[in-house]
């Protein structure tokens, strides 16, 4: 970050400096968390895991009503079955992720051998292919069932994503994600931070923007708009569209550097967000109202 000058990034730096974010991941997390705690003093810290519901009482009521008959229950059941199904070679996902798959809090994970970010979805697919099974598609369907099951079992865990300080590649990936979060881009000149930090809680048309602190802690979700389950990958896809000629067009630049194999750039924002959310208990498998 320090080396970047160019006027396109002036805003990024300005924002980082404005919020005292200039140092490493740990200092960043403290400053980031404090910003949201100050902005939303009525929200208990761990409640930020609930996304926009943490700051919007009316939506929260609707959500809690829906939670009485969770629309993701069937997905969890199907996911449990898939999780325990034996592969042709006699093994199962449990051989990769333990008896109940309660590992959601460790993802996205830095793989220091390969020098890359691994999401839980990718790890599941790697487990499948290593055992001679077909990988799953990333956005909807079976993948949401397995991750719903594993995430549900991980509920209440605290996010425990680590960025090893002795691996410069990990730090570079982190900085890349951070830069992405704060950099204005695209025709509309939007940064994620514009909506989820600077104006978090404000209205864009009828949508209140959620605090960036807590993002990524409750996926997959059943979303009313989809009338089905989706992974964070699926959500990011619509964020690109939602931002309307926006923001995210140029994500590809960083995705080439970071996730050549993986289908998308999704881990970039999440590796940036996730360490900030450490300390927040996961509320995995949520319901998203819009």
């Amino acid at each position: 970050m320090k080396k970047i000058i160019g006027s396109a990034l002036a805003g990024t730096l300005g924002l980082s400096i404005a919020f005292g974010i200039s140092a490493g991941p740990v200092e960043d997390q403290i400053a980031f968390q404090k910003y949201y705690e100050n902005r939303f003093p009525d929200t208990p810290t761990e409640d930020f895991a609930n996304g926009v519901y943490s700051i919007l009482p009316t939506a929260r009521e609707q959500w809690e009503a829906i939670e009485e008959f969770p629309p993701y229950e069937l997905a969890i059941e199907a996911g449990e079955e898939f999780y325990n199904k034996t592969f042709a070679n006699g093994k199962s996902l449990a051989d990769c992720f333990g008896a109940d798959g309660a590992v959601r809090n460790q993802y996205p994970k830095w793989d220091s051998e390969r020098g890359m970010v691994v999401t839980m979805e990718l790890a599941i697919n790697e487990c499948l292919t290593a055992n001679g099974e077909k990988p799953l598609k990333y956005k909807k369907g079976k993948i949401t069932e397995v991750t719903a099951y594993m995430s549900f079992n991980s509920r209440g865990q605290k996010v425990d994503v680590k960025i090893p300080s002795d691996d410069p590649r990990a730090l570079a990936a982190y900085e890349n994600g951070k830069e992405h979060f704060y950099t204005k881009r695209g025709q509309l000149n939007f940064a994620c931070a514009d909506c989820h930090l600077l104006t978090a809680g404000n209205l864009y048309r009828a949508d209140t923007t959620s605090p960036g602190f807590g993002h990524g802690t409750h996926w997959p979700v059943f979303r009313s708009k989809w009338q089905s389950m989706g992974t964070l990958h699926r959500r990011f896809n619509s964020i690109k569209i939602q931002d309307h000629r926006s923001a995210t067009n140029s994500i590809k630049i960083s995705s080439n550097e970071l996730c050549s194999v993986w289908t998308s750039l999704k881990p970039i924002p999440s590796i940036f967000n996730a360490p900030r959310t450490s300390g927040i208990p996961l509320f995995s498998v949520a319901m998203s109202y819009e």
Binding site: Q187, L188, F190, L198, T199, R205
Partner: protein, 111 residues
């Protein structure tokens, strides 16, 4: 000759208020359209539905911006005044054409 000039003068005197009214109408369409200005995403405007509040309400624009050029500049590139603003640079990034921005400014002046 005299008569022709008079007709021309009359015509232009008649045309320009009409032209302005037309620009206001076009400008409103541009500002309200989700595909064009989409200003209501962030700004409350009288009569608008589902307006956001990420930007200030658009009202009394003529009184607040006696200098029309400054108002135009705010639409053309709001980052000049505030580099961190989340308002898109409609002119600089060619989201609207120069003529469209003129129409939006006329509309704002009518608010």
């Amino acid at each position: 000759m005299k008569k022709e000039l008079l007709t021309a003068l009359l015509a232009s005197a008649l045309v320009s208020p009409l032209a302005i009214a037309d620009a206001v109408k076009q400008g409103k369409e541009l500002a309200w359209s989700r595909k064009k200005g989409n200003c209501l995403t962030c700004h409350m405007v009288e009569g608008g539905q589902q307006t956001g509040n990420s930007g200030p309400p658009l009202m009394s624009m003529k009184a607040r911006y006696p200098d029309k050029a400054a108002l135009r500049e705010q639409i053309w590139d709001p980052t000049k005044r505030n580099p961190l603003t989340n308002m898109p640079p409609f002119g600089r990034n060619k989201i609207l054409t120069e003529a469209e921005i003129d129409q939006v400014v006329e509309y704002l002046y009518s608010l």
